[in-house]
């Protein structure tokens, strides 16, 4: 693996970093406090920059860049605003990518292009009250009726829910099948009759990101909106989540980096016992551990991204990257609060927010336990 970024990757990093620092950083505290999703800043502007379609070919409105550029972009956004990081990751990896991977030419033109260009936002509804870690518990049903599918059921915890225009929805299309069999994926547009939004979650972290319930009551969609072959929904979901995990791993990495940057500059300035606290070995050791963990996480994330672009298998590597980066984010942000002392526990400094934001990365797109299940099953087979 080549450890040098290409000129394009560096330029993308610098551009996204400048955008994040100039446009996003100032408002992240307030958006968190007010639980406010700012569509223009957190999505539309990403579209103008070409981030919303970063990995897709130009013919579908994308930038034609690689997975590593995507990982770097999510990392840089999350360094100052983790909510923006996940908004992009859920849109691109979960909303748009399944259409790119499994969609027909027509579906790509109709749905992938506006998603990639950023004129529309994407979302992904797999989780249900009875289907969390176990997607086989899906109880949203799709019944074929002539030229239409009729959806009934409820999806919960949908990132970008309510704002997104295009949803990838998983529903059981064969009511006799059980577990992960007989599930299909569908493309559902906002404003489709019978599709409404329910509870908006109030969260511990990533509070500026939307998490919402989707309700389907006799929601009719054209048969052409079936994504991939009938009954292949579980496979589509798992393949989609492989890519999504690179996005979440990058988000976790960015959160950790942001907390580390804040901690190191504070440690150099804060004086106790007549010296900067960075002079105490105990503080230095914390910072050394944080820096080392972040570097290790970055290598895992970049490796998974590299494999995805090179056309190599990457399920295991993406799971490893997501597992390690998210646990790194939790540990690094906790230590960052420690470095700040009592001030770190107040809202005057960003590290308490980062610690709250970090936790979700150990939960969504497969909990840490589920990542270990994925990795374990692959290495023990």
């Amino acid at each position: 693996m080549n450890f040098q970024l290409t000129e394009e990757q560096k330029l993308i990093r610098d551009t996204v970093r400048a955008f994040a620092e100039n446009e996003l950083a100032d408002g992240s505290k307030e958006r968190d406090e007010q639980e406010r999703f700012d569509r223009v800043l957190m999505f539309d502007k990403l579209g103008e920059l070409g981030l919303t379609g970063i990995i897709f070919p130009e013919e579908f409105g994308g930038a034609g860049a690689d997975y590593l550029s995507y990982a770097i972009a999510v990392e840089e956004l999350s360094r100052v605003c983790a909510s923006t990081g996940v908004t992009l990751s859920a849109h691109l990896s979960l909303g748009a990518n399944p259409i790119y991977l499994f969609g027909s030419e027509k579906q790509k033109q109709n749905y992938l292009t506006p998603l990639a260009e950023g004129s529309k936002m994407g979302a992904f509804g797999l989780t249900e009250p009875s289907a969390g870690s176990d997607a086989g518990g899906t109880r949203t049903f799709a019944l074929r009726d002539g030229d239409e599918w009729v959806l009934n059921g409820t999806k919960i915890f949908t990132t970008n829910g309510g704002e997104a225009e295009i949803y990838i929805i998983f529903a059981r299309s064969d009511k006799h099948a059980e577990k992960h069999h007989g599930i299909s994926a569908f493309i559902v547009e906002k404003e489709t009759p019978g599709f409404t939004f329910g509870k908006k979650e109030e969260k511990m972290g990533i509070r500026a990101s939307l998490t919402r319930e989707l309700v389907f009551e006799n929601c009719r969609i054209p048969i052409n909106n079936l994504l991939g072959p009938e009954g292949s929904g579980f496979k589509i979901a798992m393949k989609t989540l492989d890519g999504g995990r690179i996005g979440i791993a990058s988000q976790a990495l960015g959160i950790a980096q942001g907390a580390f940057d804040a901690a190191i500059s504070y440690a150099k300035e804060r004086k106790q016992f007549d010296q900067p606290i960075a002079g105490f070995q105990a503080v230095q050791f914390m910072l050394a551990d944080m820096a080392t963990q972040i570097e290790a996480a970055r290598l895992l994330v970049y490796q998974a991204a590299y494999r995805a672009s090179a056309g190599l298998s990457y399920s295991k590597e993406a799971a490893m990257a997501k597992l390690f980066a998210s646990e790194t984010a939790m540990q690094v942000t906790t230590k960052a609060v420690q470095v700040f002392g009592g001030y770190g526990y107040t809202r005057d400094y960003p590290v308490e927010r980062m610690m709250r934001d970090a936790k979700i990365t150990e939960l969504y797109e497969g909990t840490s336990e589920i990542q270990r299940v994925v990795i374990g099953s692959m290495i023990c087979r």
Partner: protein
């Protein structure tokens, strides 16, 4: 219309600077590099002009080692059409006159209608290169512009003067303009354009082909100013602090005579 924009790569100004072993410049190693701030305004203005006029060809030029190509890619991604990299590992040793002569030698027979540069570089700050290029080419220059308009061959530029005064200058092409903060807000290069920049022409020209003059000045020494005494922190109980402060104000200032 042919447009040239000249840009320089400078260290990130937040870097921790060290002096080189000769003591006449900063140490070039271990620095993060970026486009000189004023040159970003120049690139932005050139790109805006290119989109305004129908047929324009915009060349970006930079003198320096290989690493400057990264910054030139940014200019190409912002909208320049082609790049001319004048390859020179020792550009930092050259004085403004030599740099200007190299640019003028490149531009001489290319008939650029307009040339944009930054008003100065953040690391050397001589503010001479732009005007010297114009003088060498025998064209007018307008410096430190904060506003620019072009219509029917006529250039109208605003300059910012001391005391809040502005001056309106008119001239005709060919001309050179040096750009100041406030002229515009440089765009972020979009990702699709970053990817497309890869395919744009980026010629490398050895500096020896264009460097024909001797320097007229040299930097004899570079140094950090001596450290002034730091601030004073008073410690103790509040009442005692006030007494200390009053004593200092009496002894050292005229405030409490």
């Amino acid at each position: 219309m042919k447009i040239l924009v000249c840009i320089k790569q400078v260290p990130d100004m937040e870097s921790k600077f060290k002096l080189n072993s000769e003591g006449n410049w900063y140490d070039n190693s271990d620095l993060a590099w970026r486009m000189n701030e004023y040159d970003e305004y120049a690139v932005e203005q050139a790109v805006q002009l290119k989109t305004q006029v129908d047929e324009a060809d915009l060349t970006v030029l930079s003198i320096g080692p290989d690493r400057v190509k990264e910054m030139m890619k940014k200019a190409l991604a912002m909208g320049c059409d082609r790049g001319a990299h004048i390859s020179d590992d020792d550009s930092f040793k050259k004085d403004p006159y030599e740099i200007a002569s190299i640019i003028a030698a490149f531009a001489k027979d290319k008939e650029f209608d307009l040339i944009f540069t930054g008003m100065q570089s953040q690391d050397r700050g001589s503010g001479q290169v732009g005007v010297l290029v114009a003088e060498t080419l025998g064209i007018p220059s307008i410096t430190t512009i904060v506003d620019f308009a072009f219509a029917a061959g006529q250039i109208t530029a605003k300059r910012e003067l001391e005391g809040g005064i502005k001056a309106l200058i008119k001239t005709t092409a060919p001309a050179l303009l040096t750009c100041q903060l406030g002229l515009n807000t440089p765009r972020y290069p979009t990702l699709p354009n970053i990817m497309k920049a890869k395919k744009k022409e980026l010629l490398s020209i050895p500096v020896a082909e264009l460097h024909k003059v001797a320097s007229k000045q040299e930097t004899a020494r570079m140094y950090f100013p001596e450290k002034r005494g730091g601030g004073l922190v008073l410690e103790g109980a509040v009442g005692n602090l006030a007494d200390q402060l009053i004593k200092i104000l009496k002894d050292k200032t005229g405030v409490l005579a």
